[in-house]
Symmetry: none
DNA sequence: ACTTCCGGGACTACCCGTTAAT
DNA sequence: ATTAACGGGTAGTCCCGGAAGT
């Protein structure tokens, strides 16, 4: 099956990434073998390596995709507290545990592999900037950029990462409480 | 001479753990082989296995030790903001990067291995309770336990974990700013 | 238009063989992958397999072609010592190293694969007979076949093979000296 | 089984080399997998890799050993023609075919891998010098070194390599005839 | 009709955690 | 208490068939 369409390739890639996502979050990055991924995707070894040159590259691709901790979709007019609530929900038990686990794995791997670290940093920076902008808007009429907004966004996002790790280890945390405390750092909603 | 032997054993164990700490933080848990550990410790294969029945057990021992993210030493009368500052400093670049990296690795592994998750949870719970108590004291004279204190402690600790991950990936975060924002969640110091 | 197509096919085949010759001599038979050949020829995988049913068949085709060790072109009236000199020059450094290397590779493979061994034997026999005939002519007027001629031809040709191997391994051999010694086995030139 | 004697290690090494020798000569260097060697030696994968860091290193070790083409044992007072006869017999059918095949393989590999080429050159040089010395002695009473001796030795040895390749490809060559022709290059025996 | 090139799946060299023999 | 060795596992490569586009 040659000369395959761009869409076909894209779909295939996504299929691999999603299968990898699932297996990685269950078994962990290191303990997942390429053979496991062959089983999970239903593809062959050569098939997978046609789309990803190495396991590391596949891991990076999974990390670049929505990994649960943070979300690539930026809803334009979302107030900061809703954004935080949404991000929180991605890694909240029970549905979010898989995401949380994968997130923890990826951060662990990123701590060791510079290539992954780049991906992680880029994701964090983008989301941080977005959140900072949302905070700025929510603060009021003036549109002066305040460096404090970025700092707050950094802290809030770091907290979400830590929250994800707690969820991943089976710690029983109440997302509502987390959200309530975190709200103290965000500007008050206009009534 | 059982006493000497006991001390000797303890020292040996610690020596292994410290060497493992160093190698793990540099190479990662999975990528560190037992042979690497043999090299790092200067001991023999069987020597290490005399103290730790498996690699997993050794990892758990390293995780139980002070890994930088959180600290086993509870200074009794420490005010909450100082405690937070101290914890923050453990994983701050440049000296704390190794700790941060190891921490990220351990959280990642804990997300996958129940045995390690138990260790991680226990560490977090103990530290959370300690911080909550410090917050309660700092709040004022009344010694009524407020569940809000525990929630705040959870959030602050989660933030520290996330902060560690950012440091581990080489993100350039300013600890002072982090601490300042985090301070807003803690009771104001009495002047 | 069968004639054009035929020529076209022939040209394509030759093009593949020449590219393969180059890559094989540099990387070795076994270490050269079909993908390498695709890269070297600029053709596609299937394109190559249209001309050669398998890698082994392609190797055989390369071996059948002039591989440098021996030469397919039989110059009719060539005196034996000139023929030997010419053959020697094919595998002499620096231009002949590639030929020498490929020759060594092919003899190695022929030692293992009967199909290739047939090719190698056929080539050797043909050249041996040719050289023997040249020797016989050079010996003098009488045209009696002397079995000794064939033996000498065998030995001289074997020497050339060994000479090629020495060149292929980077041994610094002087072709002039080789030729001089070898000349002692050949009939003296008429003055 | 720790702290094994030097002899034990040496014996083990030799055992591996000999098994490898056998399999290599039958299947070829490239087509012999490490698993084949595991089967042939009766050892385990890890066992073999304890003695040889890589397949290439094992190949080199096999090549360094007596590979049949040339012989490491230098019999001191051997006249040149006897030495040549002995070397010839090592790669003569039927017993010597395996040696001849392995020799062809090694020369082929040496043409590609510099490390092996070093080994091949060293072997050739040593044997060439020995043969040259034997020739010099056989030439007569005067002990003046003649560069011609080395050239003759080079040629004779090259011929033996080529002879081995012919044998390896199943060519029906008569060693006696080869030896007779080759004798013309060597000094006449005193009667 | 014909080339392209995706994909299959077996295989490769090498490594790893661990045990057991010395 | 050292270390040889086990044996299953790892990521990644290879040759090639055959389906999909032009």
């Amino acid at each position: 099956m040659p000369k395959v369409s761009q869409q076909y390739r894209e779909a295939r890639r996504t299929q691999i990434i999603e299968a990898a996502h699932k297996v990685f979050s269950r078994e962990g990055l290191a303990r997942t073998s390429m053979t496991d991924l062959v089983t999970a995707t239903g593809m062959s070894m050569g098939g997978i390596y046609r789309y990803f040159a190495s396991k590391e590259e596949l891991v990076a691709a999974v990390a670049e995709g929505r990994d649960g901790t943070v979300d690539g979709d930026f809803v334009a007019a979302e107030p900061p507290d809703e954004l935080v609530a949404r991000l929180l929900s991605y890694v909240t038990a029970p549905e979010g545990v898989a995401h949380a686990r994968l997130s923890a794995q990826i951060w662990g791997e990123a701590a060791i592999r510079p290539a992954l670290a780049d991906v992680a940093r880029a994701r964090h920076t983008a989301l941080r900037d977005h959140l900072a902008a949302r905070i700025q808007v929510a603060r009021g009429a003036d549109d002066t950029a305040d460096p404090d907004d970025a700092d707050v966004a950094d802290v809030v996002l770091a907290t979400l990462v830590g929250y994800g790790n707690l969820v991943a280890t089976g710690f029983d945390v109440d997302p509502a409480r987390f959200q309530r405390i975190l709200g103290r750092l965000l500007p008050a909603q206009p009534p």
